[in-house]
């Protein structure tokens, strides 16, 4: 075997290994060395890069051919500036940045729009790229968006070096739904597409039962394990002999719910993760702050392991971010809220 072939085989093996087993090692709290790194040889990558242009090279993928084969066929009548492709020495000059600059809003020659078909009558909304349970007014211009409001701390006004200078923050402006250009000019977009009255019922009605709680406890447990939640280090919740105060009242619980909700961002979840309900356990310190290492996935339902993982990660971010300053909970009832199980059910956040 040629050396090139060996290198290639090794590289492929590593890549495949990473692809299939990568998840298994997820839980290892990685030190900062590069491991589980797939090294695609330069030749490999050149072949990949060149493949669409040079099919003949692809016939013999193992040949460590110099990427000189990558030549840009140019059938253009007028010479187009060749994408800097064949200058071996020089680092490719930074492609003129305009390529990345997508004009944010081209001035439309006429009202144009994107139309989401709303199911409910809509309230007038300010346009906002963010959706939240409660509409939030635009922040003062100098404030960075942050769910947690903070006073501005002027660096020179403080001697206490343990406190960091802080910019003032304010909750990020939000509407309760995304208002697209279309919706601003709502009359241009159809509000819904009418369906024929007599539509043949082709599918049996879907069972309406809400997602049943997962019975796959073993899976969930394994998942939680795999997710690197070090249960051993979590302070084992010691059951209070007797709760020291009355249980949380409805208002206190609702406040906690709203607090976590405001940081629970499902905007970057896959559709499958958005169909996955996760139950996440966390222990809080007496000051109301979540103990990060105690956050663990108890169970999930509705999606596969991958989706459960993403859904859990979003839930974990919500708890940590909005708990960073401590949840507002009555300290005298600590025993009632030291251990919390939060169910994150995205049913209502899904696309209609």
């Amino acid at each position: 075997m040629q050396t090139g072939t060996k290198i290639s085989a090794l590289a492929h093996g590593l890549l495949l290994g990473w692809a299939f087993l990568g998840g298994v090692f997820q839980s290892d709290p990685l030190p900062y060395e590069v491991q589980d790194v797939s090294v695609i040889s330069a030749e490999e990558f050149a072949l990949m890069t060149g493949q669409s242009r040079t099919p003949e090279v692809r016939e013999a993928p193992a040949e460590p051919e110099p990427p000189a084969a990558v030549e840009t066929p140019d059938v253009t009548a007028e010479p187009d500036p060749p994408p800097a492709r064949s200058e071996p020495e020089v680092a490719p000059e930074p492609v003129p940045e305009p390529i990345l600059e997508i004009p944010p809003e081209p001035v439309p020659p006429e009202p144009e729009s994107a139309a989401l078909v709303p199911e409910t009558p809509r309230r007038p909304q300010r346009p906002s790229e963010r959706i939240a349970p409660e509409p939030v007014a635009p922040p003062p211009p100098e404030a960075r968006p942050d769910p947690v409001e903070r006073e501005e701390v002027a660096p020179e006004a403080q001697n206490d070096s343990t406190r960091e200078a802080q910019e003032a923050t304010a909750p990020e402006e939000a509407a309760t739904e995304i208002v697209t250009e279309a919706e601003e000019s709502a009359e241009l977009a159809p509000t819904r597409s009418p369906r024929p009255a007599a539509r043949p019922a082709r599918r049996p009605p879907a069972p309406e039962a809400p997602a049943a709680p997962s019975t796959e406890d073993a899976v969930a447990a394994a998942l939680a394990e795999a997710l690197g939640e070090t249960r051993e280090t979590a302070p084992t919740p010691t059951r209070p002999a007797a709760p020291s105060g009355p249980p949380l009242n409805a208002g206190e619980k609702e406040a906690l719910r709203v607090a976590v909700s405001s940081c629970w961002n499902v905007g970057s979840l896959s559709s499958e993760a958005l169909a996955t309900t996760v139950v996440v356990a966390v222990s809080l310190s007496p000051d109301g702050k979540p103990q990060t290492e105690t956050i663990r996935l108890m169970s999930s339902s509705g999606g596969g392991d991958g989706a459960a993982k993403q859904a859990f990660e979003a839930a974990r971010r919500a708890i940590i971010r909005c708990g960073a300053k401590g949840f507002d909970l009555p300290v005298e009832k600590y025993d009632h809220w030291r251990d919390i199980e939060m169910t994150f059910n995205p049913e209502r956040m899904r696309i209609k």
Binding site: Y32, P55, L188, A189, S193, P243, G267, R317, R348
Partner: protein, 440 residues
């Protein structure tokens, strides 16, 4: 009703949980309202191993940031807001610096160069938990492939955070347009999905229409008036060689699309004024007629499992969408809304069909389930048409043409939620995009 039932059930569940909590178990709460906003992330310039790599290290970070921001699911926290610096890829990350600016994800990386070889290493961090998402990974290649390496990094980041595949390391073949509406010059062009690296595949001597990538992205089918009559050509993207698909003398053939096997082509063939759908084995040239109705049958698209074909037909009087078995046979109508439906395209996930809809003088790009249920319109304008799916089935690109004598075609993309409508940068006018699969 369903929601009402659900909330009753939830209420009951919460009450039950509360009761349990009083028995000394953990407090249980249920969160059903969240926020939908782009996730803030930071991608500081990658760390170069030498001054020579500095420029590229910065550029790579820029491409990654543009890829992620472009999805509408992520929002970059710009470098001037950063408190922390990453000057050593291997040093522990100071998460406090990134928490302070509310970056929820952090991407760190390093670039090393030797001669024309570049290696890019990166890691993805969940800032607030301090956990690494996935493991460190390295891509290596020749320097001129740096944009592809950046796209690959962005694809990995995207899939680690969202849980679905990315689409950045992909290309788009389209029709580049110039000239006035009544004498428009059209030529085939190919580019990276983000508009970089445009190359032309044909000249503009004859009208070319609707290119379609093969399932592996190595070939393109398109319709050209090269002979004066519309005929289908197969073009090898690598060599730019093309050949005509021999159909039948004295006929027009158009609207081709590959089957998932990459060997079969489905298309429309017009004979004596009647247009029907045929399939052809591209190797042998054997043709099979799949429809035979006096109406127009066109714009066929196969399901990713290769078993069904969705197409457009006006057999009911107006153009509507139908699904039939891949070998032909009885077709089921799936579009029932008001208006006219055209150019259906089966999503690569298999769950949705994108289409063009015309109603009350406006055009829309929409999606529906493959049985026609749950139709949603994503866009509206004077003229939107010709949807094509991103390899992950999450984004649709299409043609938008503006009104009037100065009307011009532009490519747009939109998320299947209907959010994040944005133009795709092309040199000059552009139409008829076809999105490639992810590159290997």
């Amino acid at each position: 009703m369903k929601r009402f039932l659900l909330s009753v059930l939830l209420g009951w569940a919460i009450a039950a949980h509360a009761a349990m909590a009083q028995d000394g178990g953990p407090l249980r709460i249920e969160i059903t309202e969240g926020v939908i906003e782009p996730m803030p992330f930071a991608v500081p310039d990658f760390v170069p191993d030498s001054p020579a790599a500095g420029e590229m290290a910065a550029q790579i970070a820029r491409v990654i940031a543009a890829d992620l921001s472009g999805t509408g699911l992520f929002r970059e926290i710009p470098a001037q807001a950063h408190i922390g610096r990453v000057s050593d890829f291997s040093a522990p990350v100071k998460f406090a610096d990134w928490k302070a600016i509310n970056a929820q994800a952090l991407i760190t990386g390093a670039v090393s160069m030797s001669g024309n070889r570049v290696a890019v290493r990166f890691r993805v961090w969940d800032v607030f938990s301090g956990a690494e998402l996935g493991n460190g990974l390295q891509f290596a290649g020749s320097a001129d492939g740096w944009r592809r390496m950046a796209h690959k990094v962005a694809d990995a980041v995207y899939s680690r955070i969202t849980g679905e595949g990315g689409y950045f390391d992909s290309r788009v073949v389209f029709v580049s347009e110039s000239g006035p509406k009544n004498d428009r010059k059209k030529r085939l062009a190919i580019m990276d999905y983000d508009g970089a690296n445009v190359q032309y595949l044909t000249d503009s001597a004859s009208i070319v229409l609707a290119p379609r990538f093969s399932p592996t992205g190595d070939r393109v089918l398109y319709t050209s008036f090269e002979t004066g009559f519309p005929r289908i050509y197969v073009l090898d993207v690598g060599s730019v060689r093309r050949r005509v698909l021999e159909t039948r003398e004295g006929t027009m053939s158009f609207a081709p699309r590959f089957a998932p096997d990459g060997q079969t082509v489905v298309f429309s063939l017009e004979q004596g004024g009647n247009t029907d759908i045929y399939s052809m084995d591209i190797g042998s040239g054997n043709m099979t007629r799949l429809t035979s109705a006096p109406s127009i049958e066109t714009a066929p698209s196969l399901s990713p499992d290769g078993r069904q074909i969705v197409f457009e037909s006006d057999r009911s009087g107006t153009p509507q969408l139908y699904v039939m078995p891949v070998g032909g046979g009885s077709a089921t109508r799936i579009s029932f809304g008001q208006g006219r439906y055209g150019t259906p395209v089966w999503s690569p996930r298999g769950d949705l069909i994108a289409f063009t809809k015309q109603n009350k003088g406006r055009f829309h790009i929409g999606v529906m389930r493959t049985d026609g249920s749950e139709e949603r319109l994503l866009t509206a304008s004077f003229l939107d048409e010709g949807p094509t799916w991103a390899p992950n089935g999450r984004v649709i690109m299409f043609t938008r043409e503006s009104k009037g004598a100065q009307g011009r075609s532009t490519l747009y993309s939109v998320d299947i939620t209907g959010r994040n409508l944005r133009p795709v940068r092309t040199p000059g006018g552009a139409s008829d995009p076809s999105w490639s699969p992810l590159q290997d």
